[in-house]
């Protein structure tokens, strides 16, 4: 018994020693200063060139596959006419196929396309465009225009989203009159927030609107609750893998393999800054120069920036400064960090070299 106990104890001791050794070596590895971002990757331009030179494979098979979906067009049209929304899923870009469907089978209806893969989509503009199309149709079909104009004869541009939606829902026209909305990548970055999805759902529920959409993200259905899915979008799911390359959709995603760092950031920052007013550019310069001269500081306090800008006659009030800052924040040119003393500090998320480049580019 004693021997056994000794053995057990020894085993336990060894085990715990191994554990602490492993822990030690683990923590020593953690101290390494290498970062993932330090890995020297290919420049984006180079990568894009290389990508463009890849020979597409199985083109004929892909063509035959996409072609085979044509026989489903009548079925899809029927579903659409019966009040369902079409949701296309499956691997491969479905953009060309859906647009082909629209130009083949939906010629009788007006079709508006939303490119959900883009980063900024102004939904109100979309609604205005839709309302205009519908108004045009009402005018041409019935030759009576005055009665159907939206409430209080307001121009469409000045109406709120609520008004536009209720106009689209209530406009009186013949039963057969539809406007079809195609939404490429309804799960795309520009449409990803719940408010937009709610508006889209309400749009889909309007009487004279029918929706054809495509999804690529596996979790896309999590956007919608049961009300959205069953009574507003009324999706009919269709599995239509095309295996076609996501050429257009991928244009605006920085390639994972490319060097996300300096060059790209400098380029985008310069483009954004050049589109801003000279005063805004100067405010940015003040902040940048402060960051370059005080590299060890956490950033610049808003009040300091304000007084510095006032000295240079760049802003007259806190409000104007804030509007510039909002613009910067929206484009991720400036970020806020909370300093250890509780103050909010502004900093530019660029390395010193990159920042110098940006400054030289804009001046």
């Amino acid at each position: 018994m004693d021997m056994e106990d000794d053995d057990m104890e020894e085993e336990e001791f060894e085990f715990s020693r191994d554990y602490f050794l492993a822990k030690e070596s683990g923590s020593s590895r953690k101290k390494s200063t290498h970062k993932l971002t330090d890995i020297d990757l290919v420049d984006e331009q180079e990568l894009r060139e290389a990508v463009s030179q890849i020979e597409p494979k199985h083109q004929n098979e892909i063509l035959t596959l996409i072609d085979s979906y044509r026989k489903f067009y009548p079925e899809w049209l029927l579903a659409l006419r019966c009040g369902f929304g079409l949701l296309m899923y499956g691997f491969g870009s479905k953009k060309a196929m859906i647009e082909d469907f629209a130009s083949t089978a939906l010629t009788e209806y007006s079709v508006l396309v939303i490119n959900g893969y883009l980063h900024t989509i102004n939904l109100k503009q979309v609604l205005i465009a839709l309302a205009e199309i519908l108004l045009d149709q009402v005018k041409t079909r019935r030759k009576v225009s005055s009665r159907d104009l939206p409430k209080s004869q307001q121009p469409l541009n000045s109406q709120s989203i609520e008004d536009l939606l209720s106009f689209l829902d209530e406009v009186e026209t013949e039963n057969n009159c539809f406007v079809c909305v195609i939404i490429h990548n309804i799960d795309g970055p520009g449409l990803r927030d719940s408010e937009t999805q709610n508006y889209l759902a309400r749009l889909a529920a309007c009487t004279h609107i029918c929706v054809v959409a495509s999804v690529d993200h596996v979790n896309a259905p999590l956007f919608w609750d049961k009300h959205n899915v069953h009574t507003q979008f009324k999706w009919c799911w269709y599995h239509v893998p095309t295996f076609a390359p996501y050429k257009v959709e991928g244009t605006f995603y920085p390639p994972i393999l490319a060097h996300g760092g300096a060059n790209q950031n400098v380029k985008t920052a310069t483009i954004v800054l050049q589109s801003l007013t000279p005063n805004a550019q100067s405010v940015f310069k003040v902040l940048a120069e402060h960051q370059l001269s005080h590299p060890d500081d956490g950033g610049m306090e808003t009040n300091d920036l304000y007084s510095a800008c006032r000295e240079h006659f760049l802003v007259s009030s806190q409000v104007t400064l804030n509007s510039h800052l909002t613009e910067f924040k929206d484009h991720e040119l400036v970020k806020i960090k909370r300093h250890s003393d509780g103050q909010d500090c502004l900093y530019i998320p660029l390395a010193a070299d990159a920042l110098r480049k940006v400054l030289s580019e804009i001046s």
Binding site: E75, L78, H230
Partner: protein
């Protein structure tokens, strides 16, 4: 629409063409506008068809050669149009039936709520009218003797999924409006942190006072209510889902309304998906003490489901039917996964779409649904008329005989279907005693395997035929069936029923089968024997007057009630028998 048209190749690489690549970078663009000749096209299409029919009478061969593919295209379009119409007809009918069923289920609760609204309104009217000065000042009027209390109806939906009750609360809104109330319906989305109290108020004002109002000021509502004789009617605000509201926003909202309650005597109707106790978790005590709440209960989803299945899938004998696999899928999805009527109805709609999309002859069905209002079956002649209008029938000059026989069988199917639905309804009546849900029963009677197993044992089948007159043990007849089936459960329960209940059951069967001669006759045989029992027992009971006031069960002796029971069970067996329910397969 040739399968290998080159346009696919063109559209496959849209970025190669300059027009498309421009569009690809636009957030949105108009692909094309509606072709204006659409209407002309449709009319010429029909013209062509008519012309073609005239021609085809003289020489069908030459016409085919002449028009070729255009005919195909016209036919296709016409056919598509027919399908859409057929789906529209059938689905509108189903949808309106569902709405009616749900409305009927809610009627009593709605009436109770309306009664409550009136009582509350009268109670607030007792406080007395405000003077003009009081009513038009822009701050709340409160007198200390009467702390602001909001009359609140908590409507327990008994369904954790709010989606089914959106319609219920909409209907409630319409109902109260029709009864002369000012009604506003706000969804829980309005009570979000992002919207804040101002958003809620704006939404409230938008609902009550038509027209765009930019300022969130409740005094606008107060003065609106005071003006233009609006104060003759109660103000009701419906919030459809308490659990999804943001607690703090709702609390602020309730506190504000309670401060203004003298000037704006608003009543709240709040949908609660869980329990009343849950209000304590969502609202703090300061808000709760401002509520003077009453409780109302809505029907459970299972009850609603049974009512819908009865009205749509069993009773409506002309619209489309679903088969066993589809029914089983819908049932399992409803019971095991989803539990919402909304998705059940949506799935039914998809099934309906697929039916019309895949079954070429289903278009006749749509016409039937449209034409047939109350009749249980159409004459073969009418059906033939519809079939004649089908493009394929027109072109192929289908042999008259085939068409006629087809119409005949279609008409027969409808008759059998009516018989079937009556049988299922009778079974359901019996099932109510053993708490078997209609949806389960429906799936079971559609199951073809059940009949196959019964088919295989002919001896027992014969026994069943004679079962009506025999007094043998009825459970022997069901030995072929698995004892776990719902029908077996029903039979077992019927055997245990007291005679009084049995009597009631037979009365209901009588009503259900009134216009179906085939079943009614069998029931009559059963009834005559019951009458005999009745007479016998009444003679017996008259001897002993003191027993007359006893329960209904007492007039029957043991032997009589056993007899009655075996008759009832034989009737069920007849219903389940091969000749009625199985007739559809």
């Amino acid at each position: 629409m040739a399968p290998s048209s080159p346009s696919v190749a063109d559209t496959l690489s849209p970025s190669s063409t300059p027009v498309n690549s421009d569009n690809d970078l636009q957030p949105f663009f108009v692909l094309h506008k509606a072709s204006s000749q659409r209407k002309d096209k449709a009319s010429t299409r029909q013209g062509k068809v008519r012309k073609r029919n005239e021609l085809s009478l003289s020489s069908p061969q030459s016409t085919k050669k002449l028009e070729g593919s255009t005919i195909e295209e016209c036919d296709h379009h016409l056919f598509q149009q027919l399908k859409i119409e057929a789906f529209g007809n059938v689905w509108t009918k189903i949808e309106s039936t569902i709405k009616d069923v749900l409305r009927d289920l809610n009627t009593s609760v709605f009436n109770d709520i309306q009664q409550w609204v009136l009582e509350c309104f009268n109670a607030t009217a007792l406080i007395g009218e405000l003077s003009v000065a009081e009513a038009t000042c822009s701050f709340p009027a409160l007198n200390n003797t009467n702390p602001g209390k909001l009359f609140t109806a908590l409507v327990i939906t008994r369904n954790i999924e709010f989606v089914d009750d959106i319609l219920t609360f909409e209907e409630l809104g319409h109902f109260l409006k029709s009864q002369g109330c000012h009604v506003a319906v706000l969804s829980s989305i309005e009570f979000s942190v992002k919207n804040g109290i101002a958003g809620c108020l704006k939404a409230l004002l938008r609902e009550f006072i038509a027209g765009a109002i930019d300022s969130a000021d409740i005094s606008i509502l107060a003065s609106w209510y005071r003006e233009q004789d609006h104060y003759n009617k109660p103000l009701v605000l419906i919030i459809n889902d308490l659990e999804r509201c943001c607690g703090s926003v709702l609390t602020d909202f309730i506190l504000m309304l309670s401060e203004w309650v003298v000037k704006v005597p608003i009543m709240l109707i709040i949908g609660v998906t869980t329990t009343v106790d849950n209000t304590r978790n969502i609202l703090p005590s300061q808000a709760l003490e401002r509520l003077c709440s009453s409780k109302f209960l809505l029907g459970t989803p299972a009850e609603k489901m049974d009512a819908i299945v009865e009205a749509v899938l069993v009773k409506q004998c002309t619209t489309f039917n679903i088969g066993h696999k589809v029914a089983l899928f819908l049932r399992n999805y409803f019971i095991n996964q989803d539990g919402t009527l909304t998705s059940f109805i949506k799935a039914l709609k998809v099934a309906c779409l697929l039916h019309f999309s895949m079954e070429p002859l289903s278009v006749i069905h749509g016409r039937l649904a449209e034409d047939q209002k109350e009749k249980c079956a159409l004459s073969p002649e009418t059906m033939l008329k519809y079939m004649d209008e089908l493009p394929t029938v027109e072109r192929n000059q289908m042999v008259d005989q085939t068409g006629k026989s087809m119409a005949q069988s279609l008409s027969e199917v409808l008759t059998v279907r009516k018989l079937w639905s009556t049988a299922v309804l009778c079974l359901h009546e019996a099932a109510k005693y053993s708490r078997v849900r209609l949806l389960d029963l429906f799936c079971e009677v559609l199951n073809p395997d059940l009949y196959l197993s019964r088919d295989s044992d002919c001896g027992v089948g014969d026994e069943k035929e004679s079962g009506l007159s025999s007094t043998g043990d009825p459970c022997q007849q069901y030995s072929v069936m698995q004892s776990s089936t719902f029908i077996c459960q029903i039979v077992r329960k019927v055997r245990d029923l007291p005679s009084g209940r049995l009597h009631q059951l037979i009365k209901t069967w009588e009503k259900l089968t009134a216009d179906i001669a085939e079943i009614h006759e069998k029931l009559k045989t059963l009834q005559s024997s019951v009458r005999c029992e009745d007479e016998k027992s009444s003679r017996k009971s008259s001897k002993d007057i003191s027993k007359r006031n006893a329960s209904r069960v007492s007039p029957y002796t043991d032997k009589d009630s056993r007899m009655l029971m075996s008759q009832a069970v034989s009737f069920i067996d007849l219903l389940v028998g091969l000749d009625i329910i199985h007739a559809l397969y």
